[in-house]
């Protein structure tokens, strides 16, 4: 019984490591000499990694993982507990329901979907924060989805390389 489980799940630590690296990238401080406004250009690394793993391993990475990662991100960023969790659930749901189509797409077509999904993720966060009265509407926050869409092909290639190299399944 255990041996069967072993052959099926393999190298899931790679998934965990990529999520941790994405979290580090998400909070790494900009150098002192660049203006703080450049922070709006920071892509949503964690969402990109989440989308990739949901497309690649839809039977393993789904709503539950998305929710748990979201809670950790909430603690990491000091946002309301559950805020990123709910946004990540929606992202994972979209990616999981589109995964067969997404796998057929070229990488730039995928970028378009990533743009829309990350944009929705940002909107959910902005909505929750503005309903709670924690921040005001700011169009610049949507820049992150543009940057994420631009970086998607490279993130995709890197994660696909890692998945094949370590035979994650």
């Amino acid at each position: 019984m255990e041996a069967v489980a072993d052959t099926r799940a393999n190298g899931l630590w790679v998934v965990a490591v990529t999520f941790v690296v994405a979290m580090v990238l998400a909070i790494i401080p900009l150098p002192d000499f660049v203006p703080a406004e450049l922070g709006y250009l920071r892509p949503e690394w964690i969402v990109l990694v989440l989308i990739y793993w949901v497309i690649a391993l839809p039977h393993r990475i789904g709503i539950v993982i998305a929710w748990s990662v979201g809670l950790l991100v909430d603690v990491l960023l000091g946002s309301l507990l559950g805020q990123h969790a709910i946004a990540f659930i929606v992202v994972a749901y979209i990616a999981a329901s589109l995964y067969q189509r997404l796998r057929m797409f070229s990488v730039w077509q995928q970028s378009m979907i990533v743009f829309a999904t990350v944009g929705l993720n940002q909107l959910i966060n902005i909505w929750i924060e503005s309903i709670a009265g924690l921040s005001e509407w700011n169009i610049w926050r949507l820049l992150a989805s543009v940057m994420s869409a631009f970086l998607w092909p490279w993130v995709f290639l890197l994660l696909r390389y890692l998945r094949r190299r370590f035979d994650v399944s």
Partner: protein
């Protein structure tokens, strides 16, 4: 899917309206502390490498300057001690409570919030070091902010420049009491509801007034840099530059004020007695 969404919504509402979830947050923060530390490594290494490459002469002159500063500060502290003693004697004569020196704990910044709109930082001291929510934070030049959430080894600090933060201040020249609100820009504070006829001018030093029992009295908060009288508006527009280097300081001081220490001692006494 729906279940998790509902659960998240409940969490959001509970977290926003109450503090029941603070312990869960504190526990989960311990899990993500390695991420915070890892994100701080590149900046730390860059500083250490630039130190390694600075020449012997530079280091020597740096040490010399520091030694001079130290001598100067020691002399000032000695004078300060005499003044405090005298002040307490005078207060004694007036029948008011003696003022004790505030105790401080040195902490270091380990993370800055990546969102440019949120002026929050994480420091490397937490409830294990006796830090409490609402504790004021200083740097060498002035008031920086206050602790808003705690974990075991780290705590999150809201800076005075955040849009949601206000400090009760007074103008040290005239004792005029005002409220300084953050603007979302690190180098500007805004003074709210300043009468058009108020005696305030550029260059005035603002110190914390101690009203509201959150911040201790007399720490520098900022310097007024612009006073504008607009006949179309009921109040004057006054802005100030924060004294603390909000976006540059790495070494900061957590203040334990006398009342807090007294309360902590009382709790400890009661705890050991009962």
């Amino acid at each position: 899917m729906v279940g998790f969404c509902v659960l998240s919504f409940v969490l959001i509402v509970v977290d926003h309206l109450s503090d029941y979830l603070d312990d869960i947050r504190a526990g989960l923060t311990i899990l993500v502390t390695p991420v915070l530390v890892a994100a701080d490594i590149p900046g730390r290494e860059a500083r250490e490498i630039s130190e390694m490459f600075s020449s012997r002469d530079e280091m020597r002159s740096h040490i010399k300057i520091l030694e001079q500063d130290l001598t100067l500060l020691k002399a000032k502290t000695a004078k300060m001690a005499a003044l405090t003693a005298e002040n307490n004697r005078l207060r004694d004569l007036l029948g008011s409570a003696a003022k004790l020196q505030d105790n401080v704990l040195v902490a270091e910044l380990i993370s800055v919030d990546p969102d440019p709109e949120k002026h929050e930082v994480v420091i490397d001291k937490g409830s294990a070091d006796g830090v409490f929510v609402g504790q004021p934070l200083l740097d060498a030049q002035g008031l920086m902010g206050q602790v808003i959430s705690l974990s075991f080894f780290t705590s999150r600090v809201l800076l005075i420049s955040d849009r949601s933060h206000s400090v009760p201040v007074q103008v040290s020249r005239t004792n005029l009491r005002l409220i300084a609100q953050g603007t979302g820009v690190t180098n500007r504070l805004e003074l709210m509801h300043v009468q058009d006829t108020a005696d305030i001018r550029p260059g005035d030093l603002l110190v914390s007034s101690g009203l509201g029992n959150r911040f201790p009295v007399g720490y520098p908060v900022g310097i007024v840099d612009r006073v504008e009288h607009d006949p179309g508006r009921p109040f004057a527009v006054v802005t100030a530059i924060p004294s603390a280097a909000l976006d540059r300081s790495r070494h900061v001081l957590l203040v334990f004020t006398e009342e807090k220490l007294a309360r902590a001692a009382e709790v400890r006494r009661n705890g050991s007695g009962g």
